[in-house]
Amino acid sequence: MAEGTGKPDLKVKVDKTLAASIVLHVLVIGWGLVSFSTKAFVMPEEDTVAVDVISSDQLSRAMAGQKDGKKENPKPLVEKVAEAKPVDDAVGKIDDKKPPVVTDTAPAPTPKVEKPEDKKPDPPKKVENKPKEEPKPVEKKPDPVKPDPIAEAIKKEEKKPPKPVAQAAKPPPEQKPKDRVFDKSKIAELLDKRDPTRASMTGDTLNANAALGTSKGKAADNSATWGAMFRQQVEVCWKNKPYGGLDAQRPEVAIDIRLKRDGGLEGMPVLDGTPSTPYARAYAESAMRAIIQCQPYRLPAAFFEEWKSFTPVFQEKPL
């Protein structure tokens, strides 16, 4: 229709923003494809660690140290990583924050000591201001303060009957000691406010099991626990020990026994030695009867290794 030229208009109208968007997307996605795809998503391998659940008494036993523990831990006890410093007192509270305090005399925390007075009846405070000043020079002894206010309060009560009655609203708890009121706000009073007395044991690595394998360690021993249980059970059966009268010999009879896991006797109990008198023999036999009669014994299975073989000793109570 157009003359002469008759050329169709090939020029397409391209939206510039769309083109920019496409280009940007291609760029971003293309970069992402390149950069993320190169690394495989693999977890690094880790060492497996065996974990045992132990009871608190087993822990305390381990901490107590064992004579027969392995001597693979020759390092001293260390509670904090720092430059190693000898600490004399290995008990008491540990101070983690402050530098180690050598003695507890240096700081004089007078205000702290005053606190308990809050519990005391208020009147003395008002009446006596001077005593408050006094304690400062006297390092931290609140004792001289207390008696005075109380004495004053008593005097005051004697002198002025009407007022003290009003003021004595707080003292009544003293007159009625039966009513023990639980005051939550005073829980803080129960806290140990003493300053730490020692610094952490320091060293280059932490080590909490210093006692293991040391020569001063004890053999694993829970006989206080299962021994008491055994004693309690066998005493019930040891009914007819022969009566020896006032001047009887005081025999002592030791009997070796071996127990099975169920607490029953593995074999006949074996008497240590031979009784020297008819009375000692009767005494030993009464103990033997008691041991046999009372089985099976209910003892903690955890300590079986200790009680599978032991020696009950029967004897007269010292007069």
Binding site: G227, A254, V270, D272, A290
Partner: protein
């Protein structure tokens, strides 16, 4: 003895295989036992309780059909003896799973464990061709299965009670480690008739009250009979014609004689531990002193010379010392002095007065009658006067005498009123007070030593 050994041999002769295994076990036990003992934990047990030992005593089986009755009788006497001692609790025969137990085989212990018996007595009575009777017994520990004792005796048939007492003693001794006291007798004053006209006769009986025999006719008043520790003789005081005198009586022959011939009263006699001498009080005016007379030479030795009443002497078992009662300090108290005389030391210091001291045959205690606060008590104290312990107390208790093992005290108690006295036993611990059966009223008991 020999027959029991034979029995034991027959029962327990092991064959060779048993012996080998037994020896192997022994070796193993000794080596492992010794090594194990080094590291053994020792658990100390001190708190036993006191309770009598449950013991099963089935009727003794009869060796011949005619012996069933005596077999039952022996078991009953043993049961009664052990029960009265307070240290045994015989189990009622009705609970037994086995009524008759064969003595020739180890018993089925489970039958006895299940009724909670700790010891088992099995026995047999067999009439012999010569008319005598043979008694066999075994004592078993039910828990360990061990035979603790076993024995055989032969005796005339009428002494079967004595056999039962001897077996009781052997069981008691094996189980407690102390000598028994069942094969003993007691001499006492039998009292009969109205309170105003009491007839008092010396009487003798077994410690369990059986076989009572009267030794005097009752025409004269008798008091304080005492057994000889070595012979079948009794010394006592009798009011004959005139002053009361100390007499000596042989209970086998019935022969009797006056001990010494003194002016005035002689009283409260007692034998020395060797049985060769009699110690007694002789009246001298208003006072009395202690003398000892040698029975063979009839020689008298003075032991005390005080202006006081010294009486009731009793030797320690070794004869080195003696205790007696004296009012030299005002009230009657107990004193101890050397056996040959000398300085006496007062040992009783409690409230009230102390009398009739008697030294335990075991040597550890002195028993006494204590009077105070309107009460008469029987008590014991150590020989130095410490550790006084009152065993019984009441309106009237008096005259303690020890069983030969020193474990039991016999005394007499008079409840007052129209009633009369009777005999009681009590353990030195103060437990187990029991009345002793007597045909009538009874007082002044004295325990014999063990007969066997």
């Amino acid at each position: 003895m020999s027959s029991s050994d034979k029995l034991r041999e027959k029962l327990f002769r092991p064959d060779r295989r048993e012996m080998m295994s037994g020896m192997a076990a022994l070796v193993a036990a000794s080596t492992f036992g010794a090594r194990g003992a080094l590291a053994q934990k020792r658990i100390t047990i001190t708190e036993g309780e006191f309770a009598p030992v449950p013991i099963a005593i089935p009727n003794f089986s009869a060796g011949t059909p005619g012996d069933a009755e005596v077999g039952v009788g022996v078991a009953q006497v043993i049961t009664n003896n052990l029960k009265r001692s307070g240290l045994f609790a015989p189990i009622d025969q009705a609970a037994y799973l086995e009524k008759q137990v064969n003595i020739d085989a180890p018993p089925n212990l489970n039958n006895w464990k299940s009724i909670n018996a700790q010891a088992l007595v099995v026995g047999r009575m067999t009439r012999q061709a010569n008319g005598r009777v043979k008694a066999e017994f075994r004592l078993w520990d039910v828990n360990t299965g061990q035979q603790l004792a076993g024995n055989a005796f032969e005796t005339s048939a009428e002494y079967w009670r004595r056999i039962a007492h001897i077996i009781s003693d052997q069981i008691y001794e094996r189980m407690t480690g102390e000598k028994g006291y069942f094969d003993t007798r007691v001499v006492f004053v039998d009292e009969s008739g109205a309170a105003q006209r009491r007839v008092k006769r010396l009487a003798l009986m077994d410690q369990d009250g059986a076989n009572v025999r009267y030794l005097t006719r009752g025409s004269d008043l008798v008091l304080t009979p005492r057994f000889s520790p070595t012979t079948q003789e009794i010394t006592y005081m009798e009011f004959g014609q005139g002053d009361p005198r100390v007499y000596l009586l042989n209970i086998e022959t019935g022969q009797r004689e006056i001990v010494g011939n003194f002016p005035g009263m002689s009283f409260s006699p007692r034998f020395s531990p060797d049985g060769q001498r009699i110690i007694m009080s002789l009246q001298q005016g208003g006072n009395s002193n202690l003398f000892v007379m040698d029975l063979r030479s009839k020689a008298m030795t003075r032991l005390t010379d005080t202006p006081a009443i010294d009486t009731s002497p009793s030797y320690a078992p070794d004869g080195s010392r003696l205790c007696f009662e004296s009012d030299r300090g005002g009230k009657p108290q107990i004193y101890v002095m050397p056996g040959t005389g000398g300085a006496a030391q007062r040992i009783s210091f409690g409230d009230g007065s102390y009398s009739t001291p008697v030294w335990s045959p075991r040597g550890d205690y002195i028993a006494f009658t204590k009077q105070g606060g309107g009460q008469f008590a029987i008590g014991i104290m150590k020989t130095d006067g410490s550790g006084e312990r009152i065993l019984t107390s009441g309106f009237h208790n008096e005259g303690p005498t020890f069983a030969p093992n020193g474990r039991v005290v016999m005394f007499f108690r008079d409840p007052g009123g129209n009633s009369g006295p009777s005999l009681f036993t009590v353990d030195v611990s103060g437990r187990n007070e029991l009345r002793v059966p007597t045909p009538g009223f009874a007082s002044d008991p004295a325990w014999s030593p063990l007969l066997s």
